[in-house]
Symmetry: C2
């Protein structure tokens, strides 16, 4: 069901005092066309299409084997102007919506755009505001259709979009290779409630099930039990709690395992079973943890049953209950492993927050045939995975969580499988995933660092006539080194 955070923050007055840095977010707004907006309960996701003009330096080396003359250039550089199509996605809290709309209006040069595609539960609520501010007609699109369209797009176009979460493994995230054939799959969208959607092809999907026990239940019951109204705070409470002080375990009933039924002693027999008859006070942390387990296990079981009933092995989880929260991904993964005995893997999506916005955008851009091209993530313009997780670094989230970005460049030609491959689906390229292989990562990062001084020297040497060459090269050195250090600490 739709994002339920709906009524969360909107009671606060709109925050108009922030100043947006135009170089960092809403980039290339001057050439923007085709807008789409997905307004959830607490977050707004804006999408637009833009063309980027940039200089491409083409380098041609000379053949020096024949005759070398001192002073002859080693290579020739020709600078060309190129235009690339780029998709921009920006996610920000609903509180900033007015400021953002003002900013867009002020920086938008292109006036051909007449319509903005809108989806999400908030599309209705903010319709008037958007139409007034942007002077664009709001055109509503079906939420579920946009969600699925967006999901298909990221699964097809973004390498390593899906990942398996393994808390106790060497690397928490195990990214999945993109399959040429993404269908069929099951999407479990956990908003306030749960929607279970079977997706069979680009245009064919069916909501085969759902449950009212979802993110809104965690939030709502959690608020009643702990008097904590903030969703992230509830998750933090849960991560510190012990569910066994609230839950009745199998061993609390039978003194140990119930072996003949295959039930281990630590299995939860009854969620909140201990609070039925005990008069003691339970801690907020323990109750929040018990609640998280109860809801995650239930969703996990339902997901497995629907997957088995419909013979589906790929199960993706999305929605605001997930949104990159490690504690939630861990309990969902645990539950799926338990119920399917490892037969089904819980898969999460790096960009699940953008699915609706991407889908709405695609609906409006169908004449540009975006599905006929291949798109690549522009890492320089996109936020990393962990910027959305509140647990790992709450400080960082407080800053970077405000705006989150995804940029995708249209590639010059469509990517296809190498035609010489006998069976493309079984081909495993002989590559190393540096996000997984820590040793290899360290090795290559050191290589790049060691080579840097040499590169800088060559760069200066290549432009002997430019007085700022040394200064520019030093700037590049600093920037490059900083990037390498960031990668070392946050390989994702």
């Amino acid at each position: 069901m739709a994002d339920c955070a709906r009524k969360g923050r909107t009671r606060d007055s709109m925050d108009k005092s922030i100043t947006l840095p135009p170089d960092e977010i809403f980039r290339n707004l001057e050439n923007a066309k085709r807008f789409a907006i997905d307004i959830g309960g607490s977050l707004t996701k804006l999408a637009y299409y833009s063309t980027v003009q940039h200089k491409v330096a083409k380098v041609r080396s000379f053949d020096h084997t024949a005759k070398e003359t001192e002073g002859d250039p080693l290579y020739e550089i020709s600078v060309q102007e190129e235009i690339t199509a780029r998709l921009h996605f920006i996610k920000f809290e609903n509180t900033y919506i007015e400021t953002c709309l003002d900013f867009i209006k002020d920086h938008l040069v292109n006036t051909e755009t007449k319509v903005i595609k809108a989806t999400g539960g908030g599309a209705y609520k903010f319709k008037e505001l958007i139409e007034k501010k942007l002077r664009l007609k709001v055109d509503k699109e079906d939420e579920m259709t946009c969600l699925i369209k967006g999901c298909n797009f990221v699964l097809r176009n973004i390498p390593h979009e899906a990942f398996v979460y393994a808390k106790h493994a060497d690397s928490e995230f195990r990214f999945q290779n993109t399959h040429p054939d993404i269908f069929p799959y099951l999407l479990i969208n956990i908003g306030s409630g749960v929607s279970i959607v079977k997706v069979e092809s680009e245009d064919k999907f069916e909501r085969i099930g759902g449950s009212s026990i979802g993110g809104g239940t965690f939030w709502g019951l959690g608020a009643l039990l702990t008097k904590t109204k903030r969703f992230d705070e509830l998750l933090q409470l849960a991560s510190r709690g012990q569910h066994s002080s609230v839950d009745m375990l199998v061993k609390d009933i039978y003194g140990g395992a119930y072996s003949s039924l295959g039930l281990t002693g630590d299995l939860i027999a009854s969620s909140f079973g201990k609070s039925a008859t005990t008069d003691k006070e339970f801690s907020k942390e323990d109750m929040a943890k018990s609640l998280l387990h109860m809801i995650s296990n239930d969703i996990g079981q339902l997901a497995c049953l629907y997957a088995r009933l419909h013979n589906l092995s790929r199960v993706y989880f999305g929605g605001f209950f997930i949104r990159g929260h490690p504690v939630t991904m861990h309990t969902i993964t645990y539950s799926i492993n338990f119920f399917t005995k490892g037969e089904v893997q819980a898969l999460f999506l790096r960009h699940e927050g953008y699915l609706g916005a991407i889908g709405a955008f695609l609906k409006g851009a169908e004449e540009d045939n975006p599905n006929q091209y291949s798109w690549g993530e522009n890492y320089a313009g996109s936020s990393g995975l962990m910027s959305v997780s509140p647990d790992l670094n709450p400080m960082q989230r407080a800053r970077s969580g405000t705006f989150d970005m995804l940029e995708m460049d249209r590639l010059e030609r469509q990517l296809v499988n190498l035609p010489l491959l006998q069976d493309p689906s079984s081909y495993v390229p002989d590559t190393v995933d540096l996000t997984e292989d820590a040793l290899a990562r360290e090795y290559w990062l050191s290589c790049f660092e060691d080579a840097l001084d040499g590169v800088v020297k060559r760069a200066v040497a290549s432009q002997p006539d430019l007085p700022q060459a040394a200064e520019r090269a030093e700037k590049f050195r600093q920037k490059y080194l900083h990037k390498l250090q960031t990668l070392r600490h946050q390989p994702l």
Copy 2:
């Protein structure tokens, strides 16, 4: 999972002050042999086997067609002593266990019995007490095995054991005819947690699933939310509440139905979704109702999915969460109808509370081959269905809920299908169910009432030599009339 009420009442001191009326409960204790006991969280169920000696009056009519003489008797009555095997089952609150054990010890004449079969979570806890009081060795039997054995026995032997609950129908209870073939079926046992058991034959069953969201969760979360510690009180709160003030409905998100997905506006999108962001206080009644819906719907959906996965159409619900509570049966039934679109019916059992005790008893009585006989419910010695329901008549429950009984007589020969029937399973006897057909019930009760005076006259006339004949006949008239009136008010 096991009855969770486990720790409910046992904190109270044992109530030893009650005096048990020996004529009414623990009948025929003198000849009792083979005891079994099932101790759940709040209720103890005791089973024993006894022989009953009773006079059977055999009436032989004379052939009057040939020659009639004034003064000749119309028929001849011969009184014979007969011995019938009878199974007794008594259910009482754990609080009374000590008093009951004392009573049994005092009235038990037969001393051949050395062992008492015991099952249920409380079997361990009360082991010493039982062994000390009764001087019988406690022999523990597996809980799930007893439950299934008992379930098979009642389904096979008690006519109209299973029923469908329909709150708004003419008759709330629609009893099911006993099928000659009871397998396979699905048993959803809702104790503190939920066990989902597939039963394929007398000895073959498998726990194919379960959930930690069960009766203990209703009780535990209910106690935390409403500060009400009593299970029945929580159910009464729930029956007066409005879930829509706590739950987020589809129409709260979309302003109406989400028609393209087939979701009506009144469907619960998120249980407790409204309490996530609203600051208002919620009433105990509304929260209890929302909780009841949340749990019942979840169990209903799981039951449906398991039934579909295993191709089972008969789904029985039992456990302390059900125990004849109309509000629970209604929400479970509603949920099953919703999820299976009417393909699966939720079936409840009249004697579900006795299943474990019956099973444990059967385990101990295997040498008597109880499964080779047919058994019939002795209605005179059994409590009616509604005596356990707290809602309909709380006053009545306060009295009769303390002790509840089931007696079964062994029939002289095993009941079999009429061998002349071509297809016994499709045979529908041309009978009228007076519990369902109110018009026919009224007609027949009136017939019996009208005929009563005539019957009494004939009874007096048949015993011309007995001076107390008139007095006895009058007593019979009173008793009979009283029974008819009870049947009129409580046809079940």
